[in-house]
Symmetry: C2
Subunit: 155 residues, 2 copies
């Protein structure tokens, strides 16, 4: 996948976390995610259609989710309730929406779906054979999270 497609998602993730959640997470080295690799405890998923196809995942361990969501909503959140799911969905939506705007300006036609949010320790999010997934790991003081980009160009 071309850098001009991937970079807007990485930039958007950083912007959402810094601007909306006031966080400066440490970013690790991107890696190709295996189809059997687990995600964290809660994952927002936004589907992409059009010239760029696939989905974007924001996946957080429980402690990182509570930390990120507390920063996002501006008050302490102590348990994985409905508000956490809503916030993770909204953050994933903002991440994909920010990337979409940059790609639209570069003449890529794409649309994003509303987010689904998966909750469950040790869940795996897989994608069709032949669709690569780039995982960008992040570390916060409360634990890890990741952005997963499972994308291909329209064939």
């Amino acid at each position: 996948m071309k850098a001009e497609i991937l970079n807007p998602f990485i930039s958007s993730a950083l912007e959402v976390l810094e601007t909306m959640a006031g966080l400066k997470p440490r970013r690790g080295s991107p890696r190709l995610k295996g189809r059997e690799d687990k995600s964290y405890d809660i994952s927002g998923i936004v589907g992409l259609t059009g010239q760029v196809q696939g989905f974007v995942v924001l996946s957080l361990c429980e402690s990182a989710a509570l930390h990120v969501v507390s920063s996002f909503v501006g008050e302490p959140v102590a348990s994985m309730d409905e508000h956490v799911k809503d916030a993770v969905g909204e953050l994933t939506n903002m991440l994909a929406g920010g990337a979409k705007r940059v790609l639209a300006a570069a003449q890529y036609d794409l649309r994003i779906s509303i987010p689904s949010v998966v909750v469950g320790a040790g869940h795996i999010i897989s994608r069709p054979r032949g669709v690569p997934c780039l995982e960008i790991p992040f570390e916060t003081e409360a634990g890890p999270f990741s952005v997963e980009l499972c994308l291909k160009l329209e064939s």
Copy 2:
């Protein structure tokens, strides 16, 4: 959500199961799914964008997944391996694709994403506040599965 939007998905689910998997599962009464309600052990998710927005889920308990996938691929499948995930993703894709064709003929503009497949006992798939989810339960000789329609019209 209007019946003319929902019905193509229900018809497509039945057609995919009967034609592609050679099954005649018993269909239960549709019900509104709560945002905290669990799905089964493996779930295919396809996002929808355009005039009809949201996502469609095909969720199966492990034994039903093995039964449905064995019928779909034409040979016994005994464990939840990569082939099961691929088959569940493909069946969900066919389900959404069949409904899309009917809706496109009725002048609805919509696109479907590639499938993501979630694996994990007791996972919850949630959606944004205000998006209803109609769950259509099915029963096979090997256990239950469901089709979940989390849809809204473009606002």
